[in-house]
């Protein structure tokens, strides 16, 4: 799937969360809409992580192609008759080797980045769980004091 589908999907989910926060007065529903927005971000992070994973795969493939070409060039160099052509073949083989090493390094970095993306989603979930426990405790306390979960009653702090 192209990643822009995921971008649009996550944006739509996020905006639904924003609309919910703006249009509802029940504190619990507002809280749920915040969870919705967090999840939109999570989806985006996972899809970007998979984009990096795909890039890592293509780079590994490129590195494998370079290595194959290098092996072929070295074989040709072994059977080369003149010293000059042997030298150029070996130089090209070395170039391919360097390219393969560079590609592998890039791919390793991409792979690490992809894993980091998913771990950030994990940490977002951790923080969301902690946030929900404290937030719901606050809402329960508020309900005990004013017998309502309407956020419009929470303007007392103003004066």
């Amino acid at each position: 799937m192209p990643v822009n589908y995921y971008i649009i999907f996550a944006l739509a989910l996020f905006c639904i969360g924003v609309v919910g926060v703006l249009t509802r007065r029940n504190a619990i529903i507002i809280f749920m809409c915040i969870e919705l927005m967090l999840n939109a971000v999570n989806i985006l992070m996972v899809s970007f992580s998979k984009v990096h994973s795909q890039n890592a795969v293509t780079r590994y493939e490129a590195a494998a192609g370079n290595r194959k070409e290098e092996a072929a060039l070295r074989k040709m160099a072994d059977t080369a008759t003149t010293e000059v052509s042997r030298g150029t073949l070996l130089a090209r083989a070395d170039d391919n080797n360097a390219a393969a090493i560079g590609m592998t390094k890039q791919a390793d970095q991409k792979k690490k980045g992809a894993a980091s993306g998913q771990l950030f989603v994990f940490f977002i979930m951790v923080v969301a769980a902690a946030e929900v426990s404290v937030g719901l405790a606050i809402i329960v306390m508020m309900f005990r004091n004013i017998h309502s979960v309407d956020v419009n009653f929470l303007t007392r702090l103003k004066n």
Binding site: M1, P2, V3, N4, Y5, Y6, I7, F9, L11, L13, C15, I16, V18, V19, G20, L22, T23, R24, R25, N26, I28, I29, M32, E35, L36, N39, N42, I43, V46, S47, S49, K50, V51, S53, Q54, N55, V57, K111, A115, S116, Q118, L119, V121, F122, F123, M125, V126, V127, A129, A130, E131, S133, V134, L136, A137, I138, V140, R144, S148, V149
Partner: protein
């Protein structure tokens, strides 16, 4: 259209539809149940992207723990459609327009990004498997992991202190 695309569209429509039902249903309990449906659809997306660890954690933590907490609180307060506070029609309309404008601006801004031609790897790839994530978590992210455990401890203490009755 292959099976991956069909699943993608099905899960997307399911997620967006239930997200809309979350904000449109009058009864808070129904909102919670629709939100659980949304989380299941999002977990389906994670499975489609082969992020299996996150899919399971999403179901266990979000749909399992957090939503049950919400349900408990709603039932504790005995909320239903008749006690639901309503905003005036104009405020709701304004909220909808504001959210729609945000969506419009973000989509317009991100439409021509460089990344949009890139493909997300579907169905395969070993990034999301628990082995890779565990290695990365305990090699590169040990300190944040421990800090999050302290965060949990403080959240637990905070919830008990706030929720405690009396003085």
């Amino acid at each position: 259209m292959n099976i991956t695309q069909i699943l993608f569209w099905f899960l997307t429509i399911l997620a967006l539809g239930s997200a809309l039902m979350v904000i449109f249903s009058k009864n808070p309990v129904h909102s919670v149940l629709w939100l659980v449906a949304t989380f299941f659809a999002i977990s389906g997306h994670y499975i489609l992207l082969n992020a299996q660890f996150l899919a399971i954690v999403n179901i266990i933590v979000y749909a399992g723990a957090i939503m049950v907490l919400f349900l408990f609180v709603i039932m504790l307060m005995n909320l239903n459609a008749s006690t639901e506070p309503q905003k005036s029609k104009w405020l709701r309309l304004a909220g909808g327009i504001a959210g729609g404008c945000l969506m419009l601006v973000l989509v317009a801004a991100l439409r021509d990004t460089e990344i949009k031609t890139q493909m997300a790897q579907m169905r395969d790839g070993d990034i999301g498997l628990i082995q890779n994530l565990g290695m990365s978590l305990f090699q590169d992210y040990v300190v944040p992991f421990e800090i999050s455990s302290i965060l949990f401890l403080s959240a637990m203490v905070g919830a008990v202190v706030i929720g405690k009755k009396g003085d």
